[in-house]
């Protein structure tokens, strides 16, 4: 804009904006003022105090003095610099030789682990892992630009994390396919991911899609989910307080809800997730979803209250940005045989038509407000009309295409509702 412009951020992220974001994303040493946190959800009296009584958290000056100074104080020499940045810190391929214990400690000190012990990525182990794919070690799987830094994640770097996670070469193509979605969900709220595997690879690798599918009871589910976490920290460069600032974080980030669908137990007429997305049944597909909420049904289905009704009730608490219902084959069987849902799409349609929440509750969610309120105010539909309604008016926050049904587990009539949005999917065989 070529006029003096300053940025304003909450105290929770202002140092990121002035440091990491400046160096690796925008290159401009923007003068920021830092407001006390939180800004959202506060009464007007707090907003008044932030401006008239509180200090800028960056300079420590009274807020308005800091703002006026940022527009009027002459530029420093550093603020006039243009052109090439300083050389980035080199990352040699090999680390300095050390004892096993010291290396384990180093990996923790560098925040490269999930703080459980790792398998050290020796040259021999990484070379063995690379035999799990025909791809060349220096092939770039993805350039990671968020958080900034344009990090070129190669096949070898993925192999390093696969070794660290405890994976075997046979698991490597699946991990490579998953790595195309690195890093894991990162926001100031508790974003997380879900890794869903479909197709023959589930049986080839002996993934768990039956009893205790979501628990820590399968080597493959465990190491693939863990590899995604480790890649998010190493290649993704997600480090708490430096590039990630979630107030609570999410325990799902330890394993990223890595499951496979129980395709063999689907009721007749219910298709696997990847087939509904246009892939062939014989394709091995991994899909990475993103969301925040994860709610268990707790108990089993009751005769006097059909399962779709209780699923609907629980889904009212979701944000309305998307949904994935994960249910056992036994629930799916009841929905098909006793409740007449002949396909997954029938159930998705019914849920979209019957999940309702108040307009006030929908817009009362900070993520919805942050994402959609500006569009509502610009008159964009359906947000504009929704936002004008009385807060007690009931609305339907979901569309049928946003409601995914996944069948997994076995042996009980239980289910989870989540707000995970499921992407299109990646072919695992492409990474063999």
């Amino acid at each position: 804009m070529n006029i003096p412009t300053i940025g304003a951020a909450g105290a929770n992220v202002v140092n990121y904006a002035r440091g990491y974001d400046f160096e690796y994303t925008n290159g401009m040493p923007i003068r920021y003022v830092g407001f006390p946190f939180p800004v959202a959800g506060q009464p007007r009296s707090v907003a008044h105090s932030y401006v008239f009584e509180r200090n800028d958290v960056v300079t420590g000056k009274p807020m308005m003095q800091a703002i006026v100074d940022a527009w009027t104080k002459p530029l420093t020499e550093k603020e006039k610099i243009s052109g090439k940045p300083p050389e980035a810190r080199p990352e040699p391929r090999l680390l300095k030789a050390d004892t096993e214990d010291n290396l384990q400690q180093l990996f923790k000190d560098m925040d490269w682990t999930d703080y459980n012990p790792i398998i050290l990525p020796t040259e021999e182990r990484v070379a063995a892992m690379l035999k799990g794919t025909s791809r060349k070690p220096d092939e770039v799987v993805k350039v990671i630009n968020w958080p900034g830094g344009a990090r070129a994640m190669t096949v070898e770097k993925v192999a390093v994390c696969a070794v660290m996670a405890g994976a075997k070469p046979a698991h490597f193509p699946l991990i490579l396919a998953v790595s195309t979605a690195v890093p894991f969900g990162n926001s100031t709220s508790s974003m997380a991911n879900m890794i869903l595997v479909n197709g023959p690879v589930r049986n080839e690798l002996k993934m768990n899609y039956g009893l205790n599918v979501m628990g820590p009871h399968s080597e493959v589910n465990s190491v693939v989910g863990r590899a995604y976490t480790l890649l998010s920290k190493t290649a993704g460069n997600l480090h708490s307080g430096k590039t990630t600032f979630s107030g609570l974080g999410s325990n799902i980030q330890y394993n990223n809800l890595c499951i496979a669908e129980n395709e063999e137990a689907l009721p007749a007429g219910w298709q696997p997730t990847h087939v509904l997305k246009g892939f062939k049944p014989a394709d091995s597909i991994v899909t990475v979803g993103t969301g925040w909420s994860y709610i268990s049904s707790v108990g089993e289905v009751q005769l006097h209250y059909p399962p779709q009704h209780l699923i609907r009730d629980y889904m009212r608490s979701l944000t309305g940005m998307g949904a994935t219902v994960i249910m056992t084959p036994e629930v799916a069987g009841i929905l098909k045989d006793a409740q007449g849902f002949s396909t997954k799409r029938d159930l998705s349609k019914w849920l979209a038509e019957n999940v309702e929440k108040t307009v006030g509750s929908y817009w009362g969610n900070g993520v919805i407000s942050t994402m959609y309120s500006s569009m509502a105010m610009q008159g964009l539909e359906p947000f504009a009309s929704q936002r004008k309604q009385d807060p007690e008016t009931m609305m339907k926050p979901l569309q049928a295409g946003q409601v995914n049904i996944v069948v997994a587990g076995q042996g009980q009539t239980t289910w989870f509702v989540t707000d995970f949005g499921v992407g299109r999917g990646t072919k695992v065989d492409d990474w063999k």
């Binding site: 804009m1 006029i3 003096p4 412009t5 300053i6 304003a8 951020a9 992220v13 904006a17 925008n26 040493p29 407001f35 800004v39 007007r44 907003a47 401006v51 308005m64 006026v68 527009w71 009027t72 002459p74 530029l75 603020e79 052109g83 090439k84 940045p85 980035a88 810190r89 080199p90 990352e91 391929r93 090999l94 680390l95 004892t99 096993e100 214990d101 010291n102 400690q105 990996f107 560098m110 490269w112 990525p121 020796t122 900034g148 830094g149 990090r151 070129a152 994390c161 660290m164 190493t234 290649a235 460069n237 900070g366 407000s369 942050t370 994402m371 309120s373 500006s374 569009m375 610009q378």
Partner: protein, 184 residues
Amino acid sequence: MRTTDFRRPRTPVSPCTKRGYCVKRGRIEDTFTGGPRRVTDRHISEGKENVKNKRILTGITLTIAAALAFAGLAPLPAQQGKGASGPLITVLNPAIESKMVDRIPLSPRLDTLEGKTIYLVDISWGGPEAAYSVFEEIQSWFAQNIPSAKIVIKRKAGMYTQDDPALWKEIAKNGNAALVGISG
């Protein structure tokens, strides 16, 4: 009747106390009671056997401890502090070089805000009331302190991640300074 005098010092005087068993027949002083005790050939033989058994037991214990240490069941070197000895291992670096971006200088600052048009741009982070209410307070501050400045509050189009070239063009044309926020 003889009673034990526990105040009496129990100085070992018997040859039995040096090797753990008696090597000579005859009378010795009992190391516990302090009274006399008769040593026979049977005592000497049994004493030798007892000490031999103790040494075997000690040897077995030490051997098991050493085996456990080699098997990795003994306390790990990491538990004994950093710098523990062990073979050196070379491993691959999992980190990837992050590239910094080209530097862009800031626009020159203003000498004064008197008579200037200042845009406050709400990116809608946290909803429509979050930054907007703060910006209205900033507007109020200017009305009281620099009334000649014109404050224009605008909401950026689209989500916070989306660009809004039309607004940037408007600000470049009509504005003298801007504040954009508030992220959090």
